[in-house]
Amino acid sequence: MMETLQFGNPAPKNRSLGSLFFSNFLFSRSSIKKSQTKAEKSVYKIRNANLKVSDLNVYIQKNHILKNVNIEIPDKKITCIIGPSGCGKSTLLKTFNRLIDDTEGVKYDGSILVDGTDIFNKKTEITEIRKKMGLLSQRPCPLPMSIYDNIAFGCKMHGEHKKKKLNQIVEEQLKAVGLWEEVKNRLNSPASKLSIGQQQRLCLARGLAVEPEFILADEATSALDPISSKHIEQLFVELKQDYAIIMVTHTLRQALRIADHVVFMYLGEVIEAGPADEVFNNPKQELTRKYLEGAFS
């Protein structure tokens, strides 16, 4: 929490201030707990996502996948990572929440600071980092449970067991992704019965239910039909008011439509990164210009 302040976060979280205050005055344990939950609630809408990658190198079995990546992800904006296939876009995304740890023979150095915490630090609880990053994969992957449990699962795992509160979260998140009207009468039917577009929105809602700060989307619309993928895009545009959205995309048009910030990668290196207007209309690098013109893909 101290680190958040050190890194010059413009609006430090209420939670950090609150808990600092209380821990200084050594309140009894129960009162600290109470005040923290209260503070957490108010943090919900004004959190500040902060992600900074410096000198990141990733190797998988002697292959140098990511080379000296240095980027910053702006909060409350949509950042699109574009580049030809095999350039390390997905690897970069998976490094953010360290899902890459499960890959055989993976090694990394450098640092990724999430809200001032180095995620590669041995003391960092990786589950906390992952909780901050909602993941939306290429193909929707609902959990093998009912629609209701898909959303409640994460909350239950993080200690929320009150039925009333869970009902409220499920309704809220389903409404946030525009699925509530479609499924409110069959919350107990299996999630696998939904259409693929609905499943993807359910996965988004499931991620939102654990109150992340980032949304990582790995070509999240590529398996969907045009209407569903438009739906997801619209949702991203709405959600960027509250979250930092990082999406890997294969479709340049999609990046053109919704990106606020663009990172162009080629062969494991970040070639150019900046506001979407600049990168698309006035690329500084020759390689970016060629890619945007469609010289290679």
């Binding site: 929440n97 055989e104 993941l135 994969s137 992957c141 609902p142 449970m145 499931r206 991620g207």
Partner: protein
């Protein structure tokens, strides 16, 4: 007509022939058991333990063997699940696909699969003698557990290997530890667990060689784990070895009861499976 069509017709008839042949065997076995066992079946058979001289045509029934078999099957299925679910979970969630330990473990389970039950029986018997134990229900349960563990592990593992990587990633992304993914993994491999249980129950209830040395045989129903227990296959065996035709017929009734129990367990198992796998993705 072209040769390839004639070829196809011949191949098709061969397939149908063998399929019918196998079904024919099953029908024949059931028919024989019904023909000889049904007339000898009566309420006494399933509600009484053997009276004196039962194996020479005396009165009574085989309740001792029915209860003994059920105890052993339930006990060993429970123990088997208890041991094999953690193993399968460890192999598939904690270890990498190309881990050496996983390779060695799977090889070991395959070897276990191939070991005949009489070897398990003899092996357990030596240990029991060494420990000064007598033939007992507990010993029978342990041997049958050894026998069915590889079935459990291999059939669950087959299903768990198909676990989508995305599903695990999605669960991790919610902030789950590896252990916390178990709720998701168990739901996804529920059909595998059910199939494994059905296969194991079939093998456990029908095994005679393993329990011969370890559970022994008795005319009474065991009331504790240290007492010997009778089992249906051995009951069939002892009655069938009688020269008395009436007693032989009772052996067929015992077989009929055995098949009926397996049938009931299979059907219940399938109903439960469908219920639990409705959420599978």
């Amino acid at each position: 007509m072209k040769f390839k069509f004639i070829e196809e017709k011949i191949a098709k008839s061969v397939m149908i022939f063998f399929a019918l042949l196998v079904v024919g065997f099953v029908v024949n076995i059931i028919y024989t058991i019904l023909r000889r066992g049904l007339p000898a079946l009566n309420w006494d058979m399933i509600s009484k333990i053997p009276e004196g001289g039962y194996y020479n045509g005396g009165g009574g029934g085989i309740l001792n063997a029915i209860m003994g078999s059920l105890y052993i099957v339930l006990g060993s299925t429970f123990l088997g699940l208890l041991v094999s679910i953690p193993i399968v979970f460890y192999l598939n969630v904690f270890l990498n696909k190309d881990s050496k330990l996983a390779y060695i473990a799977r090889l070991a389970f395959d070897i276990m699969f191939g070991i005949p039950s009489i070897v398990y029986g003899a092996f357990a018997f030596t240990i029991m003698i060494y420990l000064g134990m007598h033939t007992s229900l507990g010993g029978g349960i342990l041997v049958i557990t050894l026998l069915i563990i590889p079935i459990f592990i291999r059939s669950m593992d087959e299903v768990a290997l198909q676990l989508p990587k995305d599903l695990l990633d999605a669960t991790y992304a919610l902030g789950a530890t590896k252990l916390e993914t178990i709720k998701v993994v168990l739901r996804q491999i529920a059909p595998g667990i059910a199939t494994a249980t059905l296969l194991s129950v079939g093998r456990a209830i029908g095994d005679a060689a393993g329990v011969m040395f370890t559970a022994g045989f008795t005319d009474s129903i065991p009331t504790s784990l240290s007492q010997p227990a009778a089992t249906l296959p051995l009951s069939v065996f002892f009655q069938l070895s009688s020269p008395n035709a009436d007693v032989q017929d009772r052996a067929y009734s015992a077989a009929l009861i055995l098949i009926f129990i397996v049938l009931v367990i299979s059907v219940t198992g399938r109903v439960i499976t469908t219920h639990f796998s409705k959420n599978k993705i």
